[in-house]
Amino acid sequence: MASRYPLTIDDVNYIVQLDVRDEGIFVTIDDNEPFEVDATTSGLPGLMSILHSESNWLGYIVPESDGWRISHNNKHFQVTSTQAARKSRSKAGSEDLPGKISVPLAGILIEIRVSPGDVIKNGDTVAVIEAMKMQNEIKAPTDGVVTEIHLESGTRAEKGDVILDYEVSESDDLP
C-alpha cells in the first residue's frame, strides 16, 4: 500500500509516494517515473543509508516541529511537511482576526461548504482549496455563525484572502 507525503524543500512543494514492498521501496515524486531504493538504518537512530541506482546516499535525519533537517555530504536540507505546516497554521489561526477565516495558501478554491446563517463548530471544514494537486481543508478555528461569504468557489484565491466573516459564539473555556 502506498503512503503519500507532501513535502517542501526551498519553497518548492513535492508529493512523495512510498510503496513499501518486500522486495524494496518504490518511490514516486510528483508525476515522475517511480524509482526503487534500498534503505537501511543502523543502530544509530537518525542515520540512514539509501542505495539508488547502485550509488549510496548517507544522511543524518533530525526531526523538527514541521518536518526534518537532513545532513548529507556536509550540506543541510530543510524538508518541511506541507501537511504539518498547514495544520499548525489553521490550528493556531495565526493570521486570522477573530470572526474571519482566510485562505492559508494560494490555490483554487474548489468548494465552500457553508452559507450565511450556518452554525459552524471548531474544526468544521468550511472550504476546500486545491494547491499543487493537493486538496486542503480549511477548518473553523472556533464556534460561531457565518455572516458573510466573500469568495466564490472555482476561483483562484491568494494566501490571506478572507473567505468569510462569522460571529464568534460565547464560550466558557476562553483561552
Binding site: 524494496g24 542505495l51 546516499w57 535525519i61 556536509n74
Partner: protein, 516 residues
C-alpha cells in the same frame, strides 16, 4: 622524567598532548570548565580537575585555579597547548614560583619577544633580516615621523608594538594619510594594549607567510625543522597550512633556518617555537614575530620530518634533554597539508555554527591523520573557538597530497552544525591553490565561495529520506527517550533534539528494507 603532566588546555590539542604523554609513560591531568565535562580530554585523562565555569576567564585563563589544580593533583609539569595561557609570561612565572616545570619558554623570553619593537631590536642585533621600518616613532613629533616614513617608503604599515592577532595595524598608502593613521594606531594601541608605542614597517605585498619550526634546549642548541607555508588566511587567521613551501628551495630553506636559529639564540629562547617570516616573490624574507608555543599547524612538520613527535621533544627539552644544533637534515620528505575544520558556515560568510554533533565519521586510510575533539553526540560548547579538528594528510608530492586531501575531505562526515568542509573542497579544486600561487591576501581578494547548490538527485534523495522517516515515525511512536534531569542550560537546546530523535531502529540489527 616527569611523573605527571597537567595539560592546561582543551579540545584537540589537549588530546594531542595526552597521547604523547601516554606513550612516554607519563600520567596526565586534564582541567575542564563546566560545559566541557563531556569532552574527550576529560574522559581520556588519568585525572581530571574541574576549574570553573564556561567563560575562559573563569577557567582556562585563570592562572590561580590551574596552578592549584596542578598542586592538588601532584603534577610536576604543565603543558599549556596553544592559545589560552600558552604565551602568558605571568603564567610561566607562576609555574616557576610553584616549582612546577612550564613546558615552554621562560617568562622573560616571552616578554622580550611579545613586544614587537623589542623583538625587532633583538633580531637586528642577531643579524636576522627584519622588515625595513622605523622602530621608535614618537607620535608627538610629526616632522620626525614623516621623514622616517619617507625613508621607509610608501605604502607602509603603522603598527602597535604591543599588538597582535591583526589588531593595532594601519595601512598608509600616501604621506597625507600618515598623521591620521598614527593617531588612530596610537590611541587604539593605548586602549587595547595599554601601551601607545608604535612603529613603521614597509608593506611587503604580495607576500607569503613562511614560518620555521624550531626546538631549543637549555644548553644553547637549537634545531630547525624547515618551513611551513601558511599563506592561506582569512582575517589574519590561518585556514590551511602545508609543509614544505612550494616557494622555498634548499638554498632559501638553509637561509630561513639559519635566521630562525639566530633569532632563537638571540632571544635566549627555550623549547618549541615558531619564527614567522614574510617572503616576497624574489625569495627575500623578513622576520615577522616569534610564536612562543606549539602551533596549531605543527603536525605538517611532524609528517614531513619522518613522523617526529614535537610534543615529545618539548617534554624532553623541558626535562633538560638536548637537541642537535642546526638545520635538521632528515627532511622534508614528501608533502603534508592541514585543513582546519571549523564549525562555521562557508555559505553564510563563515558565521559560527556550533552545537550538537549528530554523527561523525572519521576519515582514514593511508597518509591521513585527523586530530579532533569530535565524537557523535558531542555538544560543542559555544564559549571557545570554532576549531573542531585538523585534517592532515601526507603524500609523496604536493599534487598527490592535494588528491589525498580531496579524498579525505570526502570521507569526513560531520552531521549537525555546518562546517567549512565544502570550503576546503572548493579550495582543493582551485587552480591558484593547485599552482601554489598563494599570498596572505589571496584568499580574501581572489577566492569566492560558490553558492550552495542542490542537484536534482540530492533533492530527490532528501525527499525520499524524509518520506521514509515520516513512515517510520508513524509506525513507531513509542520510542521517546527518557528525559534527562539536571542538564545545564547550554545543553538544553541541543539535547532537546537528541531526545526527539526518530526511533528508526527496532532491535539491535536496526531496520532494513531493501533488495537483498
Amino acid at each position: 622524567m616527569f611523573k605527571r603532566i597537567l595539560i592546561a588546555n582543551r579540545g584537540e590539542i589537549a588530546l594531542r598532548v595526552q597521547r604523547t604523554c601516554r606513550e612516554l609513560g607519563i600520567e596526565t591531568v586534564a582541567v575542564y570548565s563546566e560545559p566541557d565535562r563531556n569532552l574527550l580530554h576529560v574522559r581520556h585523562a588519568d585525572r581530571a580537575v574541574h576549574i570553573g565555569d564556561g567563560p575562559a576567564i573563569e577557567s582556562y585563563l585563570n592562572i590561580e585555579k590551574i596552578i592549584n589544580a596542578a598542586k592538588d593533583s601532584g603534577a610536576d609539569a604543565i603543558h599549556p597547548g596553544y592559545g589560552f595561557l600558552s604565551e602568558n609570561a605571568s603564567f610561566a612565572d607562576a609555574c616557576a614560583d610553584a616549582n612546577i616545570t612550564f613546558i615552554g619558554p621562560s617568562g622573560d623570553a616571552m616578554k622580550n619577544l611579545g613586544d614587537k619593537v623589542s623583538a625587532r631590536k633583538i633580531m637586528e642585533d642577531a643579524n636576522v633580516p627584519i622588515v625595513p621600518g622605523a622602530n621608535d616613532v614618537d607620535p608627538a613629533n610629526l616632522t620626525a615621523a614623516a621623514s622616517e616614513a619617507n625613508r621607509v617608503g610608501y605604502p607602509l604599515l603603522v603598527k602597535a608594538s604591543a599588538g597582535g592577532g591583526g589588531r593595532g595595524i594601519r595601512l598608509v598608502e600616501k604621506p597625507e594619510d600618515l598623521e591620521n593613521a598614527m593617531r588612530l594606531a596610537s590611541s587604539e594601541a593605548s586602549s587595547s594594549f595599554g601601551n601607545a608605542t608604535i612603529f613603521f614597517e614597509r608593506f611587503v605585498s604580495p607576500a607569503r607567510h613562511i614560518e620555521v619550526q624550531i626546538v631549543a634546549d637549555s644548553h644553547g642548541n637549537v634545531s630547525a625543522f624547515g618551513e611551513r607555508e601558511c599563506s592561506v588566511q582569512r582575517r589574519n587567521q590561518k585556514v590551511l597550512e602545508e609543509a614544505p613551501s612550494i616557494a622555498v628551495n634548499p638554498a632559501i630553506r638553509e637561509k630561513l633556518c639559519a635566521a630562525a636559529i639566530a633569532a632563537a639564540k638571540g632571544s635566549g629562547y627555550e623549547n618549541a617555537g615558531t619564527v614567522e617570516f614574510l617572503m616576497d616573490n624574489d625569495g627575500e624574507f623578513y622576520f615577522l614575530e616569534v610564536n612562543a608555543r606549539l602551533q596549531v599547524e605543527h603536525p605538517v612538520t611532524e609528517l614531513v620530518y619522518g613522523g617526529i613527535d614535537l610534543v615529545a621533544l618539548q617534554i624532553a627539552v623541558a626535562d633538560g634533554g638536548t637537541v642537535t644544533d642546526g638545520l635538521v637534515d632528515s627532511g622534508p620528505i614528501g608533502w603534508a597539508i592541514e585543513c582546519r575544520i571549523n564549525g562555521e558556515d562557508p555559505y553564510q560568510n563563515f558565521r559560527p555554527s556550533l552545537g550538537l554533533i549528530d554523527y561523525v565519521e572519521y576519515p582514514n586510510g593511508p597518509g591521513v591523520r585527523f586530530d579532533s575533539m569530535l565524537f557523535s553526540g558531542l555538544d560543542v560548547p559555544v564559549f571557545y573557538d570554532s576549531l573542531l579538528g585538523k585534517l592532515i594528510v601526507w603524500a609523496e608530492t604536493r599534487e598527490l597530497a592535494i588528491q589525498r586531501m580531496q579524498r579525505a575531505l570526502q570521507d569526513l562526515v560531520i552531521s549537525g552544525p555546518q562546517t567549512n568542509i565544502p570550503f576546503h573542497r572548493e579550495l582543493m579544486n582551485n587552480k591558484d591553490f593547485q599552482n601554489g600561487d598563494i599570498y596572505t591576501n589571496w584568499l580574501e581578494n581572489n577566492f569566492s565561495m560558490p553558492e550552495a547548490t542542490k542537484t536534482e538527485e540530492e533533492i530527490n534523495l532528501a525527499l525520499t529520506a524524509a518520506a521514509i522517516a515520516s513512515l517510520l515515525k508513524s509506525q513507531n511512536t513509542a520510542g521517546q527517550a527518557m528525559p534527562v534531569n539536571r542538564v545545564s542550560k547550554w545543553t538544553a537546546a541541543a539535547r532537546k533534539n537528541s531526545t526527539q530523535e526518530i526511533t528508526i531502529s527496532s532491535g539491535e540489527a536496526g531496520w532494513r528494507r531493501g533488495t537483498r
